[in-house]
């Protein structure tokens, strides 16, 4: 508890001047043009690994991201970073994400890592499966290390997929269900980059399906997500 309070009430992080300049430069970037069709836009699909599943107490270990540019995953336009940890995560968790304690200690300085992530991201919309988790973890880290209040458009495939495949909605809940359904092979699960890639492939499937329903842009996919959230709320 003490740890939690410490983090919440810690003073605003002090960035070195060139870091502050990089952050300002990112903030000054123009927003992604709207509406942009999937064929003419860049999405960044992201996945994070953390010290655990508790949104309040666990912290960000790594970010993996791949860009979907004009509908295709650009393998060269991908990103992976491990954040240097102040405290090493519990042993049972290491078994899941596979980032050893030494690797955690050797990770990048969090502020630098997060700045690199922002610069990689630009103002492209973010996509994840179960956004709440990734978004919370990233937002908290950005506030903690960069003092940034991160407000960014997100798309949640956990809602988009069931909206596009209503008949699968009840049997397919977690990422593994969906990627299994579309035979998306993933060799190393629970690695942020590999998961991001699998999620990006799922976005391609979703996009292809949505196109058949004349949904071709981010806004359209967001509407799907919203209606599904609403449907989940009433059912």
């Amino acid at each position: 508890m003490k740890k939690l309070l410490q983090r919440w009430f810690s003073p605003k992080p002090s960035l070195r001047p060139h870091q502050a300049a990089r952050l300002a430069a990112w903030q000054a970037l123009p927003a992604a043009p709207q509406p942009a069709t999937v064929e003419h836009s860049r999405f960044v699909v992201v996945d994070v690994e953390t010290t655990g599943l508790n949104l309040m107490t666990d912290t960000l270990i790594s970010i993996g991201a791949v860009a979907v540019v004009n509908g295709r995953i650009a393998l060269g336009d991908s990103f992976y970073v491990v954040l240097q940890q102040r405290e090493i995560s519990r042993k049972e968790n290491i078994l899941i994400h596979g980032i050893s304690s030494s690797a955690q200690r050797e990770g990048d300085d969090p502020a630098e890592a997060l700045l690199a992530f922002l610069e990689y991201l630009g103002k492209s919309p973010l996509v994840a499966f179960h956004v709440t988790f990734d978004e919370t973890m990233i937002r908290r880290a950005l506030r903690q290390y960069l003092g940034l209040s991160f407000k960014h458009p997100w798309l949640d495939l956990a809602y988009v997929m069931p909206a596009l495949y209503p008949t699968l909605a009840y049997s397919h809940r977690v990422l593994d269900d969906w990627i299994g359904r579309f035979n998306i092979r993933i060799e190393v699960r629970h690695n942020a980059l590999a998961d991001a890639l699998a999620t990006a492939q799922l976005l391609q499937v979703a996009h292809s399906r949505a196109r058949a329903k004349d949904i071709t842009d981010f806004a359209g996919l967001r509407d799907l997500e919203r209606s599904q959230r609403w449907a989940n709320g009433v059912s």
């Binding site: 993996g64 540019v69 509908g71 295709r72 995953i73 650009a74 393998l75 060269g76 336009d77 991908s78 990103f79 992976y80 690199a116 990689y120 579309f182 035979n183 998306i184 092979r185 993933i186 060799e187 190393v188 690695n191 980059l193 590999a194 890639l197 990006a200 492939q201 391609q204 499937v205 996009h207 292809s208 399906r209």
Partner: protein, 635 residues
């Protein structure tokens, strides 16, 4: 900044050729790759997209290659590619369109490398380069496919499927008012023998269509009341195109939607109807029809027209992927038919028909025509062999025959076979000879061995009968076979002469070119094979005149392994294919006018990488054939 997950790398490096490539090159490639997704049934690469723009490796899923765009369906699958396989290599290397439609057979993810980077990688990684060129196990096969694809765009579609619909509409559309009874409409359809009826409103705007195919499903089986308005059974989902739209758009529309008819609509008004049948008719070339036109032609003008038809059809056949062997055979067959008819007509016009002379003469084809190797620009090479009727001298016979021969030569020239510059034509008194005179001429060449004799031998040895008393030609052949075979010195001279024409491969195995940086496909490419085959056939006593037959039939007697002969033949055919393509391209540029004589000169710099490689290989094969000659005659 980029990050390639090790699992992606490990997937790629499990498959050829990436398993043999340097890791740095694989990484270089991966960083430039995209991952594309294709839902089941989705088209990945098609000829319509133009030259291939990317190299694909299947990450997961199945990809089917289908032979024909218009007929693409599951039944036409001819190629199935799985995980880790690369495509479309041949078209990429050749920088051309694909020959087939590649379609996702299941939900498929493909790694994709843009074409520019693919070429860079070829230059960078020798392992990758070797794979890409060797994977095309049969280079020739692939080149053929690619050429077919290229021609199917320039010819079949341009000449037929590229006509505007306005040119295809055959008649005014038959229409009815939407409230007309079904019974009445069916009556009209039967009466007018039409397969479909379109309902239009007062302003000729189409409202619905009914076809004979609908009668069963919509009327007969449901026992629909025939007094009801026809619009109730009509299909109101109409597909329409403007009259300026091209036939292939209509074909694609039909293929896409499974319709058999496309309405032609201008300013909302129905102006015509194009059916699937109309489009098929465009593609069907009437082989039988041209043949019969030639056989029954009464005037040289009709034959000129037929000659143009032959050329156009040859072009179409090239487009449809007919192999060069069959294609030249086809050209020879029809040229033979045409020549025979010209000879027949002109002999009749000269009053020779029914005279004793007519039954004692034989019109012979020489040179490439004699070898069944004619292309579009082949000069005439012909001669007459006759038997002197009792009471006449050969000179008296010539006096009667030569004027007719000249008319024949001139008419053939009008039909597109240029007069022979070397005067090797039947109208030349030197080549209108009796059987005895021919034997004397041949024995003079064989015994003489001067350069001129050898040149004549190479043209005249390839004679075959086209018209008239064939046994004269057969007798000459038999005599010649014996005589030449027993004359080893002559064969050796022929071989030495043939070896003077070396295929133009330089020291670094590149081409040696003439002053204008051109290669002569006929002289440098075909001639070495043709000359070698002639000598082989003389040595083995094979009477055939076709180069392929000569090679195949002489091989056993001369102990040439069958595989080697087939390699020579493939090489020969490839050169022939390039030559035909060159002729078609040149005559296309000339807009169908045959005023310009066609040459055999190509600039190898204009060839794509693949063709260049094959051509070099073909030249190496020619050298092998020459090596065999050198060995046999100790030269």
């Amino acid at each position: 900044m980029s990050a390639i997950h090790p699992s992606e790398l490990s997937f790629i490096t499990r498959h050829a050729p990436f398993d043999r490539m340097e890791l740095a090159h694989v990484m270089w490639m991966m960083e430039r790759m995209f991952l594309g997704y294709y839902a089941e049934g989705e088209v990945i690469v098609t000829p319509e997209q133009g030259p291939v723009d990317r190299f694909l490796v299947i990450k997961q899923g199945v990809v089917h290659g289908e032979q024909n765009v218009a007929k693409a369906s599951e039944a036409d699958t001819w190629l199935e590619l799985g995980e880790g396989e690369c495509f479309p290599l041949g078209a990429l290397l050749a920088n051309r369109r694909v020959a087939s439609v590649y379609r996702a057979g299941s939900d498929t993810f493909c790694y994709e490398l843009p074409a520019a980077e693919f070429r860079e990688l070829i230059g960078m990684s020798s392992a990758f380069r070797d794979f890409c060129t060797r994977r095309i196990a049969n280079l020739l096969e692939h080149s053929k496919q690619v050429i077919q694809a290229q021609f199917s765009h320039s010819s079949v579609e341009q000449q037929s499927l590229a006509s505007p619909l306005s040119a295809i509409i055959r008649r005014e559309p038959v229409t009815c008012a939407p409230e007309t009874s079904v019974r009445k409409v069916l009556g009209v359809m039967r009466e007018q023998r039409i397969g479909s009826m379109v309902a239009v409103d007062m302003n000729s705007r189409p409202l619905g269509i009914m076809t004979l195919h609908d009668v069963l499903d919509r009327i007969a089986i449901p026992q629909f009341d025939l007094e009801q308005p026809v619009i109730k059974v009509m299909s109101t989902q109409l597909s329409s195109l403007p009259p300026q739209a091209l036939a292939h758009e209509a074909a694609l529309t039909m293929a896409r939607h499974g319709f058999r008819h496309v309405l032609v609509v201008e300013n909302e008004r129905l102006v015509g109807l194009v059916s699937e049948k109309d489009l098929f008719a465009l593609q069907r070339v009437g082989l039988r029809q041209i043949g019969s036109t030639i056989r029954h032609a009464e005037t040289p003008e009709v034959l000129q027209q037929a000659a143009a038809d032959i050329r156009r059809m040859a072009h179409n056949m090239m487009a449809q992927g007919v192999a060069p062997e069959q294609l030249t055979q086809f050209i020879s067959t029809f040229n033979d038919l045409l020549t025979v008819r010209v000879v027949e007509l002109e002999l009749a016009a000269s009053g020779l028909l029914g005279t004793p002379l007519h039954d004692r003469l034989c019109w012979m084809a020489l040179g490439s025509e004699g070898r069944f190797e004619q292309t579009l620009n082949t000069d005439q090479d012909n001669a007459i062999i006759f038997e002197t009727p009792p009471g006449m001298t050969p000179d008296q016979v010539r006096e009667k025959l030569l004027p007719a021969a000249r008319r024949i030569n001139e008419t053939l020239a009008l039909c597109g076979f240029p007069l022979c510059k070397g005067e090797i034509m039947a109208c030349n008194p030197k080549w209108c000879l009796s059987l005895e005179e021919w034997k004397r001429a041949f024995s003079a060449w064989i015994d003489g061995g001067s350069p001129e004799s050898l040149l004549h031998a190479s043209i005249f040895f390839d004679f075959r009968a086209l018209y008239g008393t064939e046994h004269l030609a057969e007798e000459l052949r038999q005599w010649l076979s014996q005589y030449a075979r027993s004359n080893a010195r002559f064969l050796r001279q022929m071989a030495a002469n043939a070896l003077r024409n070396r295929p133009p491969l330089g020291l670094v195995r590149d081409f040696v070119l003439n002053d204008e940086n051109r290669l002569d496909l006929k002289l440098n490419g075909l001639a070495p094979f043709v000359d070698a085959a002639r000598i082989f056939s003389l040595a083995a006593g094979v009477p055939q005149t076709g180069t392929l037959q000569r090679l195949r039939l002489s091989a056993p007697a001369l102990h040439i392994p069958a595989a080697e002969v087939e390699a020579w033949i493939n090489a020969l055919l490839f050169i022939q294919l390039l030559r035909l393509r060159h002729h078609f391209e040149v005559s296309d540029r000339q807009g169908g006018e045959k005023a310009q004589p066609l040459d055999n000169l190509i600039d190898p710099g204009q060839l794509n990488e693949l063709d260049r490689r094959i051509l070099k290989e073909a030249f190496r094969q020619a050298r092998k054939a020459q090596a065999k000659l050198a060995l046999d005659y100790q030269l």
